[in-house]
């Protein structure tokens, strides 16, 4: 149907594993079956691989290797951070503070903690999705067991002022966690510079394999395990380590750290072309998230008067793959809570479209997206009763 190469711009949902990473993993899947807890050679070989990966991941976020707790997914790391730290510090405070634009893997465990008697405080964000330092200050007046604010939103791309927010938490001696799922490996995430005590890192976001993520948590911050069992990962995360995936994540972290600067400079050009062209070329397209303080690989919009799933289906027919936060796109049929939190009305949020870039994307892709999306939007608007009303002037 289309002789062009497919354009994949949904990298935050999933990304291909890098060849260099696969090369590290494949021999381990074939022969590296050892259990790092075993005394014998096979076990000690595995322990060595695990230690190497720990160093690589620690280096990516400016932490000590012993601070790295390997988990299976970003969601698990987030659950461990919010539940683990809150429960460990319960005697100090029963309050948990998060932002309104956290991923579900922070929001839902935080809500679940209210069943255990915790009080949940959800900080609002402004129209760009930024958490205000003053709002956090006010919320901290009554103390907290843990504060968790996302580093960069995967839905709207906005990068939060984590260093400033963490400084206030430090004044109050309250540990702060940041979910760097969408940012670690893409932009610098240095725990010392940010001043945070815990960070969620997902290997898949920087071309590692599925099945390996980490919660990097400083020595002074206690956390109770959510998976209890053996002594793996300092007893904070029991269960035999997924050595091949962890080794792959380590290699991916090393490569990402080395190439980050060049790659993000290149992707930013593509991102900015999308951000400047689509709203200029199509009427009633708004940019979601912050115009400049955003991930270098993230361009997100709302196309008014149409619904995102229809747009994605049409783009997919032209081999262009993107994402949407519209209600119809989600299995739960609920519009993205992030779009709601930045103050978008439900109809506008329905037109959400999100492009997340990866190393394979080229600046020419923007030309093709632009030429494909324009007629598709017109076509869907022709069908839309809302667009008709807008034309009539009868839309409020």
């Amino acid at each position: 149907m289309n002789t062009n190469q497919p354009i994949y711009m949904d990298h935050i949902a999933a990304s291909p594993v890098r060849t260099e990473v696969l090369e590290v993993m494949l021999p381990l899947l074939r022969e590296g079956f050892g259990n790092p807890q075993s005394v014998h050679q096979r076990g000690q070989e595995a322990a060595e691989v695990l230690g190497g990966a720990r160093e690589q991941v620690a280096a990516l976020v400016g932490a000590a290797p012993s601070d790295v707790i390997f988990t299976a997914t970003g969601s698990e790391s987030n659950n461990l951070a919010i539940k683990g730290i809150a429960r460990a510090r319960r005697k100090k405070s029963n309050r948990v503070i998060v932002s309104a634009i956290e991923h579900h893997s922070i929001l839902n465990p935080a809500k679940a903690l209210t069943q255990e008697g915790f009080e949940l405080v959800v900080l609002p964000v402004d129209g760009h999705g930024l958490v205000s330092v003053d709002v956090l200050k006010d919320a901290l007046a009554d103390g907290a067991a843990v504060v968790s604010i996302i580093h960069a939103s995967t839905e709207i791309g906005t990068i939060e002022p984590i260093a400033e927010l963490a400084a206030i938490c430090r004044e109050h001696h309250i540990p702060m966690h940041t979910d760097a799922w969408g940012s670690a490996g893409t932009i610098p995430v240095d725990m010392k510079e940010l001043g945070v005590q815990a960070v969620t890192v997902a290997g898949q976001n920087f071309r590692g394999p599925p099945g390996a993520s980490a919660l990097v948590i400083g020595r002074g911050t206690p956390a109770k395990p959510i998976i209890a069992g053996g002594i793996q990962e300092k007893g904070i995360r029991a269960g035999q380590e997924n050595i091949p995936a962890i080794a792959g994540m380590g290699k991916a972290a090393e490569l990402a750290g080395r190439e980050m600067e060049d790659l993000s400079a290149r992707l930013m050009i593509i991102r900015d072309a999308l951000i400047s062209r689509l709203p200029a070329e199509i009427d009633d397209v708004i940019i979601t998230g912050h115009p400049t303080m955003r991930l270098p690989n993230h361009a997100s919009f709302c196309v008014k008067y149409i619904e995102g799933e229809g747009l994605l289906l049409f783009l997919d027919q032209s081999d262009i793959m993107a994402a949407s936060g519209s209600a119809c796109t989600s299995k739960s049929l609920k519009a993205s809570h992030v779009l709601d939190a930045i103050g978008l009305d439900a109809a506008t949020a329905q037109g959400s479209i999100v492009f997340t870039l990866g190393r394979e994307n080229k600046i020419e892709d923007v030309d093709r997206i632009s030429s494909v999306i324009k007629p598709v939007v017109s076509r869907l608007r022709e069908m839309s009763p809302l667009y008709k009303r807008k034309e009539d002037g009868s839309l409020q």
């Binding site: 309104a100 929001l107 809500k111 209210t114 949940l120 405080v121 959800v122 900080l123 609002p124 402004d126 129209g127 205000s132 709002v135 919320a139 008067y305 149409i306 619904e307 799933e309 229809g310 289906l313 049409f314 027919q317 519209s326 209600a327 119809c328 796109t329 299995k331 739960s332 049929l333 519009a335 809570h337 709601d340 939190a341 930045i342 103050g343 978008l344 009305d345 439900a346 109809a347 329905q350 022709e382 069908m383 839309s384 009763p385 809302l386 667009y387 008709k388 009303r389 009868s394 409020q396």
Partner: protein, 194 residues
């Protein structure tokens, strides 16, 4: 496996009977943007049969395909036959729909039935044929926009996230006081206004 059947994709990509009628005998409108989908059906009736039908839909692929299929199924049918078109029949004709999209087929059949009822009402009351004046439904905010907790309109504070709300002076809806602009209408919220 594809998200939708070939038939759904065909009706979505090449929808039949999209548009509006100059002089409709009946108009049916269902849904609103808040629940995700919105459909408008227009019909003309001759000798108790649906002579022509056009639709407009704001919604997902399934919603558009359902509208298209309903319009095709209804054309040429007697009003009684058309009233018997059910959501299950529409979904079946489309080769099935994903479970969470079945509600879209309800909307399609509902919009058609509403258009027929509208025609009957006009016919019985002798009201002249004209396009209905649309009534915008005001959707009131019943949930905290930050945590989805129900917010009691009398106490503008969310009990879960402790966010103080103020009534937006422009649109009358609730807005968090920390915001500079009303999240619903974009009006500027100043300290005086609050």
């Amino acid at each position: 496996m594809a998200l939708y059947s070939d038939k759904v994709m065909d009706h979505f990509m090449n929808p039949r009977n999209v548009g509006e009628l100059e002089l409709p005998d009946g108009i049916g409108e269902v849904g609103n943007p808040v629940c995700g989908d919105m459909m408008t059906f227009m019909i003309t009736v001759k000798d108790n049969r649906i002579e022509d039908v056009k639709f407009k839909t704001f919604g997902c692929g399934a919603a558009i395909a359902v509208s298209s299929m309903v319009s095709e199924m209804a054309k040429g049918k007697t009003l009684e036959e058309a009233m018997k078109i059910t959501n299950a029949m529409v979904a079946e004709e489309l080769g099935g729909l994903p479970k969470n999209k079945l509600h879209c087929s309800n909307l399609g059949a509902d919009a058609l039935h509403k258009a027929i009822e509208d025609y009957r009402e006009r016919r019985d009351s002798g009201e002249p044929v004209k396009k209905k004046v649309r009534e915008e439904k005001k959707v009131s905010l019943e949930k905290c926009p930050y945590c989805e907790q129900a917010v009691e309109s009398t106490t503008p504070i969310c009990t879960t996230c402790k966010i103080q709300f103020a009534v937006c002076p422009e649109c009358g809806k609730l807005a968090a006081t920390s915001l500079d602009t009303c999240p619903h209408c974009g009006a500027r919220l100043t300290a005086e206004k609050r």
